[in-house]
């Protein structure tokens, strides 16, 4: 249960093509994350899968059956919205029970499932409150509760954590991951936060303007980005991308090197530069270095506390094993 195939799926809003024909397979039990810049069509793709938007062309196959024209309620998918979309006039209990009531389940069965969901999500004490009387994190959990009682074939999340503060986000991230481990249900998760993508996903789908740029596990994307866009999008801080004569020395149009793959020294190395801004995070320090012959500042990670200041001389040496080379089309060169 929860095997979804998109075949040639296309979406146009009037004259605007948001999703050009696109193919994607999501396996049963997978945690798939859609990432991409704002406006690239992540939500639209998710809503197409949910059935809240009609496809302009192509087919959506869920568990072997063509679901392209099946109404959303009968696709067996549950969605958690960015705004949570809780029903404000109903108690938490009624909110969670709503899909079951709509399915005309028996009272006792409804109560049993609501109780079970509330226990899993630590909501037992809040069952009689209204959504307006809950904190953001609790509301989020109610929305998830409303999704899990239906025992869907797959969960769809549209940026579920973007309204939470940083600390809560980390907590909820773990909870959703745990939930996935426990339920082993397919989850499709939209975000533009790449930390969420890296930490939660089995498979990341990087989208740009409706096109799939690359599909792969987080580490695959990190190690072998297929093109410049993915290289720049995955990883934090961003990969340094360097053009010009230095790239030519390595036989490429552009080279990419991640901040954590550059060795910094105050004595000597391959590239000479001066420290401009330094960001001390405690465990790590990031230096932005203005190098001779490189127009953009180069970001470099240095472990722990390093005594270098604004304007100091610094030498950088990229690790040749982690150097990414791209050709004129921006595609990776092996």
């Amino acid at each position: 249960m929860g095997h979804i195939i998109l075949e040639n799926v296309k979406k146009r809003f009037g004259e605007v093509t948001v999703i050009p024909p696109l193919d994607l397979e999501i396996n049963d039990g997978e945690f798939v994350v859609f990432v991409g810049p704002s406006g690239c069509g992540k939500s639209t793709l998710l809503r197409l899968i949910a059935g809240l938007e009609d496809v302009t062309g192509g087919r959506i196959i869920i568990d072997g059956k063509d679901a392209t024209s099946v109404p959303p309620a009968r696709r067996g998918l549950a969605m958690v919205f960015q705004s949570y979309a809780l029903y404000p006039h109903m108690s938490v209990r009624k909110n969670i029970a709503f899909p079951l009531r709509m399915a005309r389940l028996e009272r006792a069965e409804i109560d049993r499932r609501v109780k079970a969901a509330a226990e899993v999500l630590n909501l037992t004490d809040y069952l009689d409150r209204r959504p307006g009387q809950l904190s953001g994190g609790q509301r989020q959990r109610v929305a998830i509760g409303r999704a899990i009682v239906r025992e869907p074939a797959a969960f769809l999340f549209d940026e579920p954590l973007s309204n939470l503060d940083a600390a809560l986000r980390v907590g909820m991230r773990l909870e959703i991951s745990e939930l996935h481990k426990r339920l082993e249900t397919t989850m499709i998760y939209v975000t533009h936060d790449q930390v969420e993508a890296m930490t939660m996903a089995d498979k990341i789908v990087v989208l740009r303007a409706g096109n799939i740029e690359q599909v792969g596990s987080p580490l695959e994307l990190y190690r072998n980005p297929r093109n410049l866009f993915v290289a720049g999008f995955i990883g934090s801080p961003k990969m340094n991308l360097i053009n010009g004569s230095i790239a030519a020395q390595h036989g490429a149009e552009t080279i990419g090197i991640r901040p954590e793959h550059i060795f910094a020294s105050s004595e000597g190395g391959e590239w000479h530069g001066k420290v401009s801004v330094s960001e001390h995070l405690g465990s790590d320090t990031f230096f932005h270095v203005t190098c001779d012959g490189i127009p953009e500042p180069v970001t470099v990670r240095v472990g722990g506390e390093v005594d270098l200041h604004y304007g100091d001389d610094i030498w950088l040496t990229p690790d040749p094993n982690h150097l990414h080379r791209f050709d004129t089309q921006g595609l990776r060169v092996a």
Binding site: A50, G51, L52, P71, P72, A73, R74, L77, A78, M79, F81, Q82, S83, A85, L86, Y87, P88, H89, M90, F98, P99, M102, A103, R146, R150
Partner: protein, 292 residues
């Protein structure tokens, strides 16, 4: 209103409005109360200059014991209730309709709102002479076209006709308020309900209607205030006959037709009491929607 300073500033700024409102309400109210205890028949030579005779509760007793009193209360309640029912039900449906993206939305909305800008007297005249006239009215022509005998609306179905006319006038108000309420409904809630397996009808009853409850409450409360005192529509159409004599209209007849100002004032006080009973009743039923 957090600080002492802003609180007292707020009070100071509210003061003129409060004084004005109090004067506006209190002067007529006291005058009505005062006159209701006096014998005041201007045609018989009573006047404020000569001093009026104190008659105690005689006016009250006479007003309530008149055979027209209870029927008038009943007519008032039926008309108010009927108009509320029609405007709220049709208002909700129209608001949902107008919320759909349709061609020429702006024009359609303008047309729906238009009746509200027609003066009650004018609209009552139009209804009476153009639509409901048993010989020349459009309805009469329509009835004859289908081979039926035209109905003389204002005498045979007088209360229903009044309800129809007044509903037509107040429907735009209800629609407008309910439309803004519907537009504030988060579309993701409807989508969530759709995914949860709610049919369109279930979505209406479980999501849309509860969302509208506050707006419906406001429509009911505001309309009741105005509907209790409708006058022109009755004056122009039936003149209070055929069971359409509301309390307001009865008071008018007592003051103007029988030139008994004391008796009319006593009726006015009854009208205030009736309005308050209705208001308390409504607040009990629907008012709890407001403090959410």
């Amino acid at each position: 209103m957090a600080t002492q300073h802003s609180r007292s500033a707020a009070r100071l700024m509210l003061a003129p409005a409060v004084v004005l409102l109090l004067g506006w309400m209190l002067v007529p109210l006291t005058l009505t109360l005062y006159l209701s205890f006096k014998k005041y028949l201007p045609l018989r030579g009573d006047s404020l200059q000569n001093g009026l005779e104190w008659v105690g509760f005689e006016n009250y007793a006479r007003f309530i014991s008149s055979s027209a009193f209870w029927p008038s209360v009943q007519a008032t309640l039926i008309i108010v209730g009927g108009v509320l029912l029609i405007t709220v039900v049709l208002g909700v449906l129209l608001a949902i309709l107008l919320d759909q993206p349709i061609w020429g939305q702006g024009i359609v909305r303008l047309f729906v709102i238009a009746p509200f800008f027609v003066m009650p007297t004018v609209s009552a005249l139009v209804w009476k002479n153009m639509l409901m006239d048993p010989i020349n009215g459009i309805f009469a022509h329509l009835w004859r076209f289908f081979g039926a005998t035209p109905v003389s609306w204002l005498s045979d179905a007088s209360v229903q006709s009044i309800i129809l006319i007044v509903s037509w006038q107040w429907l735009p108000f209800a629609t407008l308020i309910l439309l803004t309420a519907i537009q504030s409904l988060d579309s993701e809630q409807l989508e969530a309900a759709e995914m949860d397996g709610a049919s369109p009808l279930a979505r209406f009853f479980y999501i849309v209607l509860p969302h509208l409850s506050r707006a419906i409450t406001i429509v009911i409360l505001i309309q009741t205030i105005f509907l209790l005192s409708i006058f022109a529509e009755i004056f122009v159409t039936t003149g209070g006959s055929f069971g359409t004599r509301t309390l307001t209209y009865l008071i008018f007849q007592r003051v103007v037709d029988s030139q008994n100002i004391g008796l009319g004032s006593a009726g006015g006080v009854y009208a205030i009491i009736l309005a308050n009973i209705v208001a308390i009743f409504l607040m009990r039923i629907v008012g709890k929607n407001l403090d959410r």
